[in-house]
Point group: C2
Chain length 212, copies 2
DNA sequence: GTCTATAGGCCGATAGAC
DNA sequence: GTCTATCGGCCTATAGAC
């Protein structure tokens, strides 16, 4: 029934080519441009082969999503485990292709029920990881978790980068230097505060907004 | 050629019904579900009528976008001119239908060239307005515009609300209370600082992150 | 595993009656 | 302005030869 890799599983180059083409089309033209014919054309194949490897388009989308999910998770864990997780997350988030793809997958899940549970899982995972790792980092840098909860920081990073990338995609660059400068400012301040705290064995301080 | 309202222009209810149906389908099922047949069905019409009012689907999309643009702009100006523009913008941004529609229109503009210039215009307008109005408000509240540029604040508002609404759409609610609390905290602090500054005729203070 | 052939559906768009 | 009828196209998916 299913393709089912042979025993000596060299990860099916045709199958991978189909998934690669799917991702590329999503990023460049949006999810609605992903059709069996166009995917095949992009991969240099006949459209029927797409149906051989993936019985339905739904199965193709789900498989592509799950492959991306793995990659996202891996990079996310890597970023969050690095010396400055905030900077690493920011660098990851402003990567245009990755962010476009993730946006497109979310948009697709508004259109196809089969994708929603994956999106939900991805978003939940992200929160769980960020709460653990960013939370620890922020705490060590002396940030009050009641005023800047890790999940908020995570949302800000994702939100700002998404905005940046959407605008660049339509040729708007207004305010981008301010945005990048803002990110850089906070990141390096956190970096300094965190380093200082580690050096002195004490908490550094980052001021919250004054209670007016 | 074109529909061309008669002299006594009662704003073509059929035409409006088509545009309304277009928006509704976009919000509920995504832009790729917008077809002449489905729009017509939703509006209780024959699909050919869609082509009578809008020669091509591109024309339908552009017209729908421009109608939304007007509405967005109007609400945006209204929000930004209110007593607490930040709060008003936040309240506007967390409105699910509106934000879903605007996201869908942006996604559509990644797929259709004809929409890109409209998206660019909308985003530029938003920046221009926010720089003027939010900038003034923040300045009056004693916020250093070098550390929190209005355009950054605007991006944060949009980014956070988009994240919130995407997650709610797939059934994730993790961290939402923190997010809303975070927004509420900052909004009310700005409100207090702004009110205080106006009362005393002086600048209130909102601390920026400490230079570590 | 890859090919040819093809069924059957929804789509955009047009022509022409009323 | 709204209707009926219809064309050609791209789509998903399957059947069967090799």
């Amino acid at each position: 029934m299913k393709p089912e890799r042979k025993s000596g599983e060299e990860s099916g180059s045709t199958r991978d080519a189909i998934l690669d083409a799917t991702e590329a089309i999503m990023v460049e033209e949006g999810y609605s441009a992903v059709t069996s014919r166009r995917v095949a054309e992009r991969a240099g194949l006949k459209s029927q082969l797409v149906h051989y490897y993936f019985r339905t388009m739904d199965e193709l989308f789900v498989t592509a999503y799950e492959r991306s999910e793995k990659e996202f998770l891996q990079r996310h864990l890597q970023a969050v485990s690095s010396q400055n997780p905030i900077r690493a997350l920011w660098d990851l988030a402003i990567h245009p292709k990755r962010t476009r793809l993730s946006q497109e997958l979310i948009a697709l899940s508004h259109h196809r029920k089969s994708m929603r549970s994956i999106t939900a899982r991805v978003l939940e995972q992200t929160h769980a990881i960020n709460t653990a790792f960013i939370g620890k980092y922020l705490q060590e840098a002396g940030v009050d978790p009641d005023e800047f909860p890790p999940v908020v920081v995570s949302h800000i990073i994702n939100g700002l980068s998404r905005g940046l990338i959407n605008e660049e995609a339509v040729g708007v660059s207004q305010g981008h230097s301010e945005l990048r400068a803002f990110a850089e400012c906070w990141i390096s301040k956190l970096e300094a505060a965190h380093g200082q705290a580690h050096a002195s064995g004490d908490k550094a301080e980052i001021d919250a907004p004054a209670s007016a």
